[in-house]
């Protein structure tokens, strides 16, 4: 009987394939799956949320502190009242959902911004108001926020955020590994932000219609975006990279072009007489 140790061939139990290839395939596959999941879930949430009757959104908003506040002084309350009056006028031009009561809040803060949130509430900051020259520009901002309320974008964003958050946490729990989950989370986030751009475009279009109905022209919109374009970088929004993909709002130059297209498509006038700001708001500029 012969006794010997023969060496088996190499490469049977372990392959010589470059692990980088495997990594590339896995990354592509997982990023693809995550992005696809996020897209599907976001679309679903976005489609469902606005169809839930407004009274449920109102009830949810009622459980949270109200956004429609104003500083506890005479000038502050006056500004809030003027903003509310403008909102009510413009809301009549937009077909707001049944049962939605639009309430406007004002913050005495130098942030240059305004936002719409659930429960029919929109908030304006002093920093934005003092940058505007005339009522038309202010009306464009107001109409834009009202359009967000009309389309229930805030509740769509809320539903989307919750659904995507659940997916990402399920995925990261599955992987149980911070690194891999972190990378995949970034991928999910990038896809999420791109939907907001579409919502902003829709809001711009509705706002232009309302503006045109109220004033006969859309010059206010051009004024507004020219103000934004002139803002130095730090005031627009700190830490926001200039590349459009990662920002939630379309870049200002795109928006101005969009206005001109809209005006051309709808035969609307781009220019016309501007109304002066309401006195309380104009007083802020001093």
């Amino acid at each position: 009987m012969k006794l010997e140790n023969r060496a088996p061939a190499e490469g049977i139990n372990a392959s010589n394939e470059n692990p980088l290839i495997e990594l590339a395939w896995l990354l592509a596959g997982s990023l693809g799956v995550i992005v696809a999941l996020v897209i599907v879930v976001s679309l679903a949430a976005q489609w469902i949320a606005p169809r839930i009757p407004y009274r449920y959104e109102a009830k949810l908003a009622a459980t949270l502190p109200s956004f429609a506040t104003a500083p506890d002084n005479e000038p502050g309350r006056r500004v809030q009242a003027e903003l509310q009056a403008l909102a009510d006028r413009l809301a009549a031009r937009l077909d707001m959902p049944d049962g939605m009561v639009v309430r406007i809040g004002y913050r005495d803060d130098r942030t240059v911004n305004a936002f719409a949130t659930i429960g029919g509430q929109a908030v304006f900051f002093r920093g934005l108001l003092v940058k505007l020259d005339n009522e038309n520009a202010l009306a464009m901002v107001m109409a834009h926020e009202l359009a967000h309320l009309k389309y229930r974008h805030a509740s769509a964003a809320l539903g989307r955020g919750v659904a995507v958050g659940v997916i990402l946490s399920v995925v990261s729990a599955e992987l149980g590994r911070n690194a891999a989950a972190g990378v995949l989370g970034q991928a999910g986030m990038a896809t999420l932000l791109s939907f907001n751009r579409d919502q902003e475009r829709a809001a711009d279009e509705a706002a232009l219609s309302a503006l045109h109905a109220e004033y006969g022209h859309v010059g206010g919109a051009i004024d507004l975006f020219e103000v934004f374009a002139r803002l130095p970088n730090e005031q627009r929004s700190p830490n926001v990279p200039a590349v459009e993909f990662l920002r939630t709002h379309p870049l200002t130059a795109n928006r101005i072009a969009a206005i001109r297209h809209w005006a051309a498509d709808n035969g609307a006038a781009i220019d016309g007489p501007r109304r002066p700001l309401p006195p309380g708001i104009a007083a802020l500029r001093k």
Partner: protein, 163 residues
């Protein structure tokens, strides 16, 4: 900003893990192949009974053990694999290295004590996990045989006794 730093750190660890891991693996394989040629005279088998049951033998247990850890790159790829399932090629090389190393250390143990034949070799594998990374421990053990009297009949030559 903090996110960027974290991400950068992660990418750096991944790159370091990949390159360092590849170098370590290549060196280990080279060392394994060299020593396998060196220890080619110590024979190891998985059979339970000695080939020659007539000659009196001295028998004793020999073993070899090794713990090899996986690097950051391997762990990350394994994490991604968990989404799709399938073959974990990166871990397979790890296991193979560990087994061959353990067998070599077993042969070394046998030769050190003067044996040239080891039978009934068994392998036991364990995982030692430190949180997120895995280390593999392979324990190989067997019975080494030394003929009681050196009758001049070295194994491998034709034996006069019936097989």
């Amino acid at each position: 900003m903090l996110d960027l730093i974290e991400f950068g750190l992660f990418v750096t660890l991944l790159i370091v893990g990949f390159f360092a891991g590849t170098i370590v693996e290549k060196r280990h394989y080279a060392s394994i192949r060299k020593r396998e040629r060196e220890y080619a005279d110590v024979l190891a088998f998985a059979v339970r009974f000695p080939p020659d049951r007539v000659t009196p033998q001295r028998a004793f247990l020999v073993h070899g053990t090794v713990v090899i850890s996986s690097d950051y790159f391997k762990t990350f790829v394994a994490g991604l694999r968990n989404l799709f399932g399938g073959r974990l090629r990166t871990y397979e090389t790890l296991m193979e290295r560990a087994r061959r190393e353990a067998l070599l250390r077993l042969k070394h143990d046998a030769r050190r004590q003067g044996a040239k034949l080891v039978i009934c070799v068994r392998f036991e594998t364990t995982t030692i996990s430190t949180g997120w990374a895995a280390s593999i421990e392979v324990f190989a053990f067997g019975t080494a045989l030394i003929p009681e009297r050196d009758t001049g009949l070295a194994f491998g030559a034709r034996s006069a006794l019936p097989a």
